[in-house]
């Protein structure tokens, strides 16, 4: 299997770390080597947050991704920070309700999903991240929807169990985009 080097990026509070963790768990359930590395430090307060998720058949070297083949961008600063780093032939999935920018690169595939608007309209405000995860996994074809569902269950702590159904709706909605 081709290595997946996925960067999730957005504002702190948009759930980019959670989205990355769900993807990492899916890799774990599939029996792959995985790593999850967050950005940490002052940039998380009000600025951008991001995480690198590596999924591979081989042990992961550096968990810090410098050239992602998949980028999930949830705001404009994040897109601008990572767009040039995306590997040729790579894929970008972005929240088009927050990012209104032409992408001039022609060597990558771009999916525009109005995830913030969709979340708002469907009563799952705050789950724009999982709509994008739904789209990402639909495009990746990496694992079955059941595996992704199991991964999400692993990421939701018991005290937030009521969030599971909402997450499922978000993922299903994303997969339809």
């Amino acid at each position: 299997m081709k290595d997946l080097n996925i960067v999730f990026a957005g504002f702190g509070g948009q759930g980019v770390l959670f989205a990355g963790k769900a993807a990492a768990y899916a890799g774990l359930i599939e029996g792959r080597e995985i790593s999850w590395l967050p950005s940490y430090g002052p940039e998380m307060r009000g600025g951008t947050a991001n995480c690198s998720v590596c999924i591979s058949d081989e042990p992961i070297g550096s968990p810090l991704i410098t050239a992602p083949n998949y980028l999930v961008a949830m705001n404009l600063p994040s897109l601008e920070r990572f767009i040039d780093a995306v590997e040729p032939g790579g894929t970008v999935i972005l929240d088009s309700s927050l990012i209104d920018r032409e992408i001039t690169r022609t060597d990558i595939t771009v999916f525009r999903v109005p995830s913030s608007r969709l979340a708002e309209e469907n009563g799952i405000k705050g789950l724009s991240n999982m709509i994008l995860v739904g789209k990402l996994f639909h495009e990746l074809g990496f694992c079955s929807p059941e595996v992704l569902d199991e991964a999400i269950q692993k990421c939701i702590p018991p005290r937030k169990a009521d969030m599971l159904e909402l997450n499922r709706r978000a993922v299903a909605l994303g997969a339809q985009q």
């Binding site: 590395l37 081989e58 992961i60 070297g61 550096s62 410098t66």
Partner: protein, 348 residues
């Protein structure tokens, strides 16, 4: 099934499963999750979590707990370890075991908060004043962090000396799958020296590092150094990766060894004979493995997230028989496999 855990949290859980019930800490990025994890877990299992008023207080609480014979630990990041150095020296001078975790960040001074390996000298040569060594373990994955916590506690108890896990911000912050051991899998040694109450059934034990008579202090230090010789003979550890036919061997530990391993794989894809020798113990330094490797390789390259603090140890280990070069980044920068490959190809 394995669970996904952050390095910092995995260190905490591993310590608990190694029988540690006494944690004394103080927050500092990028190790704070470890203290936070302990603050949640310890009260639930009848353990002690205490956030001290300073790093110095925390390390001295570890000294006290260890003197009473229990497994105790503290953790911090680079500037905080400097503050703990006094207590570490006192523990070494009192022959006390303990586990100290350093999740390194950039330095010197307050430096930065991104991953670094610039405390190599501090950990291996001068964790405090006086003639002493501590055991230093350098994990490179979250699983190895878990495994080495038990090993470090056991070795510290076995040799009656402090042990350090030298990690860094990358390993502390990242998540990887881990398999945790069951608690009580490993037997703990008896501690007849502990000051834990004697009920008039034996002579009282004294834990002390003050010896005002020079010849007495000299005798104690010399005895301790005999023990260090045994430690050097028995505790060296390293992992070799594709070294057997290697023309150039990269020497790297911890986070930078992961980058180096990727560089080795890239070199091998091109048919270039490059290997990796990864020290797992930094003290004792794996001189035996390096000496053996020096008989084959034409050159060594250390790859570090520092200005090259390990280079001299490699040179000494191999008696300067072949050149030892250096590539590194510092200040919180992480080398890329491409950079390392370019440097190593220059030596082929």
């Amino acid at each position: 099934m394995k669970v996904l855990m952050k390095g910092n949290e995995a260190l905490g859980e591993a310590a608990i499963r190694a029988g540690c019930r006494h944690f004394f800490g103080y927050p500092i990025t990028p190790q704070t999750e470890l203290a936070a994890y302990m603050s949640k877990r310890m009260p639930k299992i009848g353990g002690t979590y205490l956030q001290a008023e300073s790093e110095i207080a925390a390390v001295n609480m570890v000294l006290g707990a260890s003197a009473a014979g229990v497994r105790a630990m503290t953790s911090s990041s680079s500037p905080g370890i400097s503050l703990k150095s006094e207590g570490i020296s006192y523990m070494a001078g009192s022959d006390l075991p303990a586990l100290i975790i350093n999740v390194q960040r950039g330095g010197p001074g307050l430096g930065g908060i991104q991953p670094s390996q610039a405390d190599y000298w501090q950990a291996t040569k001068a964790t405090g004043h006086g003639d002493f060594q501590i055991l230093v373990f350098a994990p490179s994955t979250v699983q190895e962090m878990v495994d080495l916590v038990s090993e470090a506690f056991d070795a510290a108890d076995r040799w009656r000396m402090p042990a350090m896990i030298l990690a860094d911000g990358m390993l502390g912050q990242m998540m990887e799958p881990v398999e945790l051991p069951e608690e009580g899998e490993r037997a703990q040694v008896e501690k007849p020296w502990a000051a834990c109450g004697h009920g008039d059934k034996r002579e009282h034990n004294i834990i002390n590092s003050l010896y005002l008579t020079p010849d007495k202090l000299e005798d104690l230090v010399v005895e301790r150094y005999k023990r260090y010789e045994q430690v050097k003979a028995r505790e060296q550890r390293a992992e070799e990766y594709l070294c057997d036919d290697a023309d150039v061997i990269i020497v790297a530990y911890g986070a930078s060894s992961r980058v180096a391993r990727s560089a080795v794989n890239k070199a091998r894809e091109k048919g270039e004979k490059v290997g990796l020798l990864r020290p797992i113990t930094l003290w004792p330094f794996p001189v035996d493995a390096l000496r053996k490797a020096a008989g084959r390789a034409k050159a060594f390259l250390t790859v570090e997230m520092s200005m090259g603090q390990m280079v001299d140890d490699v040179r000494l280990a191999i008696d300067c028989r072949v050149p030892v070069e250096f590539f590194g980044r510092t200040g919180g920068m992480i080398p890329t496999p491409g950079e390392v490959l370019e440097r190593v190809e220059g030596l082929l």
